[in-house]
Symmetry: C2
Subunit: 330 residues, 2 copies
């Protein structure tokens, strides 16, 4: 394994000079020395040992990204945005998936702390359990106490820079748009009650209906993924004319369930989701939803974390209602 010392010896210069040439420094190195070092490094096939560099510098160029599930287009889009931003700043990205287990989320923050990652990004909904949230916050605080930066895409509950999607307001606007189409009897495929994102969207939707004096929607709890939507669709009451799934992958699952049962969308029932994941544009029928700029949210989170303001910044991202063929007026 060729080290900087090998390069320095081959070039006939000191370690310090070789380091300054190859790994950047504020100090200048004369042209003659510089080319000698570069030539030696190329000949020997030298590659910096980042572990040693990180140790010596006391700072790494790793950005950690924690998501629930990379296969979910929602997280894939956020991760993609984050990776582009990280890349543009010369950082590399370490990704961990929690598989929706908060314990794994905490463990991964600890791992990233051990890596002395430059920044940690946590994407995805918080859970309603205050004990779990407190433990994650404690782990993040410890990390930040050691000089780490952190940002979150989701609820502003961790005391760090946050990109906060307007879940409540977006769902409320969607409810309004759907009510304007003449719907009165709604169902909400609400996901798990303890997931705050799911709960906020459900609550926003319900609040808007109540404000208009419309009857309470049917609430169906379930999982937050495609299969959860598929299963929940089975219990929707027959008099319901419009179904709101609290995220797009659930809506896609519900659409599949309706199709299997011969229920036509939108003729028999209207369906809407939330997020506007990229894969949606090829779906039949085209799904109505609330558009969130997912990739931008990912890159913004990276920028916030890297900027590292003293007081945590919270940026709200409002979703835009997009009506497509999955809904119709009644």
């Amino acid at each position: 394994m060729v080290t900087l010392e090998d390069v320095a010896r081959q070039a006939g210069v000191s370690l310090a000079t070789a380091s300054r040439v190859l790994n950047g420094s504020t100090r200048q190195v004369g042209a003659a020395m510089r080319t000698r070092v570069e030539k030696a490094a190329a000949e020997l096939g030298y590659r910096t040992n980042v572990a040693a560099q990180t140790l010596a510098r006391g700072a790494s160029n790793v950005i950690g990204l924690v998501v629930h599930d990379l296969v979910d287009p929602y997280f894939a889009a956020i991760a993609d945005g984050a990776m582009r931003a990280a890349d543009a700043e010369g950082h590399v990205v370490m990704v961990g998936t929690t598989r929706r287990d908060p314990e794994r989320e905490i463990a991964y923050v600890a791992t990233l702390n051990a890596q002395r990652a430059k920044a940690v990004l946590i994407a995805g909904s918080r859970v309603a359990d205050p004990v779990v949230t407190a433990r994650l916050k404690a782990e993040l605080d410890r990390y930040r106490a050691q000089g780490g930066r952190a940002a979150c895409v989701g609820q502003d509950l961790l005391g760090v820079d946050t990109v906060a999607p307007g879940n409540h307001a977006g769902a409320a606007r969607l409810a309004g748009a759907l009510a304007d189409l003449g719907h009165t009897r709604f169902a909400v495929l609400a996901g798990p009650p303890h997931l705050i994102t799911a709960a906020d969207r459900r609550a926003g939707f319900q609040a808007a209906l109540a404000e208009r004096g419309l009857p309470e929607p049917q609430i169906v709890y379930g999982r937050f993924d495609r299969d959860g939507g598929h299963a929940a669709a089975a219990s929707v009451r027959p008099d319901v004319t419009c179904v709101f799934a609290v995220n797009d992958v659930m809506a896609v699952g519900a659409l599949a369930a309706f199709r299997e049962r011969g229920v036509r969308v939108p003729e028999d029932v209207s369906v809407a989701g939330f997020d506007d994941i990229p894969t949606l544009r090829d779906h039949v029928p085209a799904l109505s939803t609330v558009r969130l700029p997912l990739a931008a949210m990912g890159s913004l989170a990276v920028e916030l974390a890297l900027a590292g303001e003293d007081v945590p910044q919270v940026v709200a991202m409002e979703g835009e209602v997009v009506l497509r063929e999955s809904v119709r007026a009644i």
Copy 2:
């Protein structure tokens, strides 16, 4: 920043003992010392400095994964499989996206070499340019010369452990199945000519048609993504009854293009893809394809790399033809 030395001092033991307790070792430590160290570590909130550990041990627990595009469900599925396997072995994963630029692929291998990653996984098609391939191979060889392990999901061109999808054979079997339905006039949305995966699939398809004495299919080149399929579909000749897109995302794009033009699938034209990406199951019409076990391929690649046999292993993965509603007999 609390170090092992702080912990040792607080516990009143030596650095060596603290290290043995906290970071694993073959050596035993007495129960009394052990609990004292653990207590001190917990009180101080100690987190191992992985950079220092990596430097001292001469080995890291990072696995690098290089993919073209995380938003593409094909790569997301492979990455997910790889991450699960890595996780099971106690490794963390660093992901890089190349955005289909071979230069970035090479650069990322160099970065992972600098990280002294335990293993590097390269997923995605090689390109036909032998110079580029040689440069990537050289970079990988340098990495492996320093003790790194590598594996590849794709063509066996890099001299490392490889999980090789049966592109040619799978496409040939698909062509056979489609011909059995009575189709004789085909088009192939062939992707970019220089992408070997795309070329192999096209060639396999053509070979099977030729073997049956069927006329040459129309070949339409284009990009290897959804928009490429969408654009390519526009130039399909009107007499064609069956279109093969060399991957699923292209097929999905083609389906969208046909829908926009009022061409019905499968009534007017049959369409098939390749890969069987997970999002396909909710597509309308359900897309016929060749199923590849993507997640398993990802985890297998990790296992191969970690096993580190002396001679590179090559595991072929054969795809299974799956006919769904996007094709019909003629």
